[in-house]
Symmetry: C2
Subunit: 200 residues, 2 copies
């Protein structure tokens, strides 16, 4: 069986949300799975010297307009959340806990977490919201949340983010297909061709 | 007749080259023309605090890879030029001279200048190369080049770049369709839908 598509995302990234809503179908069309890998744009941006899109002069205003238009183009609901951006470290740790304890729920949680923030405007940085979204995903929210505080979970996420940066992940969404890197929701069409007819 | 698509570009921008090779056909499919507007990313980046893609840590390596892959995806030739980036102020001034003296040649010159740099590896920052490309476009290269040194031409480009920044142009390629802004070669599909079926 062909390797899964590695999907690096940050729960506070609008384009990661748009990609998340499309990647499972894209992967399935080509007999692939999806490997969900939370990353932290704050740590990534420290290396590249970048900033959140919406904080860049002139580009920030366009970005807010483009989030909405790109969602409409993809036929997806999108409501610009406030506050934005938010800390997603707790939600990312929850992914690592789920991967270890209930891997079958990881995809469900990731999708629901993105929709909670970018459609329902619920602040994932708040422990109560995060617990509720975990519960809604079929996970034992309170226990998962407690486990996110364990030193080995914190260390695991830290190592995973560092490893992703070492592999060249400088933003989100970021994908690898059999080692080939693709950055951005805009690269889904190139990924589709890569999967359909091989490297080009 | 519907307004032309405004196309802002920098001759040193790989994605501007890729867009330039596709925008005429896209515009023609919807009964539009193209209004060629040279800008200067150096000046634009001073406002947004951005840098040339290839100079950003980690992202730079990916970008060089993506230029080539995106060209192959579009079915276009592309050879990474050296040196890169280059000063494009003289070539941009030549556009303004042509617009005033021989507007029918502007499109031909812009297309040939992009191909000279990104396909043939000719350094547009060198006066002799620029003159040759102007000649090849059917323009009197020596005379146009001389006119690029006139104070009013320098002032006109400076004002045009400042005006574009004031309108929100923070990178290249950048397009306006009836006032709606689109940034990046990646937005051509959204532009196509916008032109085909109206605002979304």
């Amino acid at each position: 069986m062909a390797a899964s598509i590695e999907f690096f995302f940050d729960f506070s990234s609008p384009y990661s949300y748009l990609a998340c809503e499309q990647i499972e179908a894209l992967a399935a069309r080509h007999g692939r799975g999806v490997d969900y890998q939370p990353t932290l744009l704050g740590a990534v941006f420290r290396v590249s010297g970048m900033r959140p899109l919406t904080e860049i002069p002139v580009k920030g205003d366009y970005s807010r307009h483009d989030f909405l238009r790109s969602a409409r183009y993809a036929g997806l609901p999108f409501v610009m959340p406030e506050p934005f951006p938010i800390s997603t470290v707790q939600a990312a740790r929850a992914c690592h806990v789920l991967r270890a304890q209930a891997p079958a729920l990881l995809r469900e949680f990731v999708q629901r977490a993105f929709r909670a923030y970018f459609v329902q405007g619920r602040n994932l940085a708040e422990a109560e919201v995060l617990r509720a979204v975990l519960d809604e995903s079929g996970a034992p929210g309170a226990r998962v949340l407690e486990d996110t505080g364990r030193p080995e979970v914190k260390e695991e996420l830290k190592r995973a983010v560092e490893a992703s940066i070492a592999r060249g992940v400088f933003g989100a969404p970021f994908f690898f297909i059999d080692g080939e890197p693709f950055w951005g929701n805009d690269r889904l069409p190139q990924m589709e061709r890569w999967l359909a007819s091989g490297p080009f």
